[in-house]
Amino acid sequence: MYVAVKGGEQAIDNAHKLLAKQRRGDTSVAELGVEQIRQQLPLAVARVMTEGSLYDAELAALAIKQSAGDLVEAIFLLRAYRTTLTRFSASLPIDTSAMQLNRRLSATFKDVPGGQLLGPTFDYTHRLLDFTLLAEGEFPGPEAQADAAVQDCPRVLGLLAKEGLIKEEQDTGAPVADITREPLEYPASRAERLQALARGDEGFLLALGYSTQRGYGRNHPFAGEIRVGEVEVWIEPEELGFPISIGAIELTECEMVNQFVGSATELPQFTRGYGLAFGHAERKAMGMALVDRSLRAGEYSEEIVSPAQQEEFVLAHCDNVEAAGFVSHLKLPHYVDFQAELELIRKLRKPSKEPAQ
C-alpha cells in the first residue's frame, strides 16, 4: 500500500535543476540540437516513435534530448504528449506493397523478383569500432548510377500464396478494435494483439521471439520478407468525401513464414507472423512477427506451454511505460507500509513471554 507524503518541494525543484545541468554537460561543448538528433540518431527516433505510438520525428528527437538518451523515458514523454491531442480520424489501411523501398530482403528465396536490396544496414559490418567517427569526416554515399531504378518488388509471401502454400490473409470488414479506447480483454483478437505488440517494448519482444527459436514454443520461422521504406498515408475527410494523401511515413515491415500445419481436410500450408513498426526498426518488426505467430498457437491447436504463446502474459507485460511505471513506483516512499511490515516481523521474532505448557 502506498500512503501519500507531503513536503520536499525545494529538494525536488533542486533535483530537477541538477538534472538539467548534468544533461547539458560541459558548456564549452556545443549543445546537442533536436534537429541533430532527428537526423543523426534516426534509429533511436524510430524506436521512440513506435513505442511512443506517435509518428512525429521532431517530437521523438525532443523527447530523446529531454530524457538525456533514456529511450524508455522518451517513450513515456511521447505517450504523455499524445494524450493531449485530438484524433481527427483513422487512416485508410496503408498499402505496404506500394512502399518506396529503402531496403528489401528475403531469406527464403535467393532470386526473388525485384531482388535483394540491402539499403543502409549494419548487417555484414564487422562490428569493429570505427575510430574515424571520432574525427569529422565526409560520407559521400554509395556509387550510384543516376538512372538506376528499383524494380517492382512483389510481396514474397504473395508468391507462396499464389501456389496455395500459405493462407491468404482475409479482411472480413469487421470494425477495428482499438486498445487505446477499449481496454484489452482476454482472449484478445489478433488486431488487438498486433496493436499491443506494435506499442510493445523491443527488448521484451526480441527476448520472447528468441525464446521461441530456442525451443520455448518453437514454430520454425523464416524471414520471408523484410521491407523498409516510405508509405503514403491516406485519409478520407468527411468534408471532402474522397480520399487524400496526407504525406508519407517511414515503416519497417517483417513477414515471417512459419512451420506448416495441415489436417485431415486441408493440405499442409505455411503459417504467418507479421510485424510493422514506425521508422527503420528491423529488430522490433522481427520480434513482433515472431511473437504474433507464437500467440496464434491456439488458432493452430498447438499446445500452449511457453511464455511467448501465453497471450495474457505477453500482452499484459509488453508495454514498457506500464512496466517501468509499476517498477519505478517502488522508489516512492513506502514508509507507512514498511512500518507495518517491521512491526509484524518484530512481533514474530519476539520470544513468547509465557513459557510453553
Binding site: S53, L85, P93, I94, A144, R155, A191, I244, G247, Y274
Partner: protein
C-alpha cells in the same frame, strides 16, 4: 506510393475533378515547408478568411495483417489541418503530416487557388515544379537503393 485508394463515399459524377484535386493535394502533402514559403506572397495575395485556423491533431495509422489482410492500429501520427475561404467563396483544405501550421495554411490556400479560374497558372507555377522536385528526390533515393542490390551465390557443398 502511386496507388490511389478507391473513393468510397462520393460518386465521380458529383465531383468530376477528384483525380486532379487528389493529385495536387498529394503533391502539396509531400512538399517541404520551404518550397511553399517560396510562394507565400503569391498564395496570400487574395482576400481570404480562416474557416478553420490551422489545428494540430492526430490520425490513427492503420496497417493490414500480412500487408493484405484485416486492418489493425499501428499507432498515431501528428497531422495539421486547415480550411480557408477566398472572397469568391472557394474553400481550400489541407491535412498535412506533422505540426507545421504555416505549411498547412499555405497548402490550404494553394488548394483554394487551384480550384479557381487561374488553375492552369497555379498548376504550371506551383504544382508541376513541386512534383518535378519530388520525382527527382525519389529518383535519387531509388538510385542509391539500387546500388545496394545484391546477388547471393549458393555454394554447392562438396562430397569430401
Amino acid at each position: 506510393m502511386t496507388a490511389t485508394p478507391a473513393c468510397s463515399t462520393a460518386s465521380d459524377a458529383q465531383v468530376p475533378d477528384h483525380a486532379a484535386r487528389q493529385h495536387w493535394i498529394g503533391v502539396l502533402s509531400r512538399s517541404r515547408r520551404s518550397e511553399l514559403l517560396a510562394h507565400e506572397a503569391a498564395l496570400r495575395d487574395a482576400d481570404y478568411q480562416l474557416i478553420r485556423a490551422p489545428e494540430i491533431g492526430m490520425t490513427l495509422v492503420r496497417g493490414r495483417m500480412g500487408g493484405s489482410g484485416a486492418p489493425f492500429n499501428v499507432g498515431e501520427m501528428t497531422v495539421t489541418r486547415c480550411v480557408v475561404r477566398l472572397a469568391d467563396g472557394r474553400t481550400g483544405f489541407s491535412y498535412l503530416a506533422g505540426r507545421d501550421k504555416a505549411h498547412a495554411e499555405l497548402a490550404a490556400l494553394a488548394d483554394a487557388h487551384l480550384q479557381g479560374a487561374q488553375q492552369a497558372h497555379w498548376i504550371s507555377d506551383l504544382i508541376d515544379p513541386l512534383a518535378r522536385a519530388q520525382d527527382m528526390r525519389r529518383t535519387q533515393q531509388q538510385a542509391e537503393t539500387a546500388a545496394t542490390k545484391v546477388d547471393f551465390f549458393t555454394l554447392v557443398r562438396g562430397e569430401n
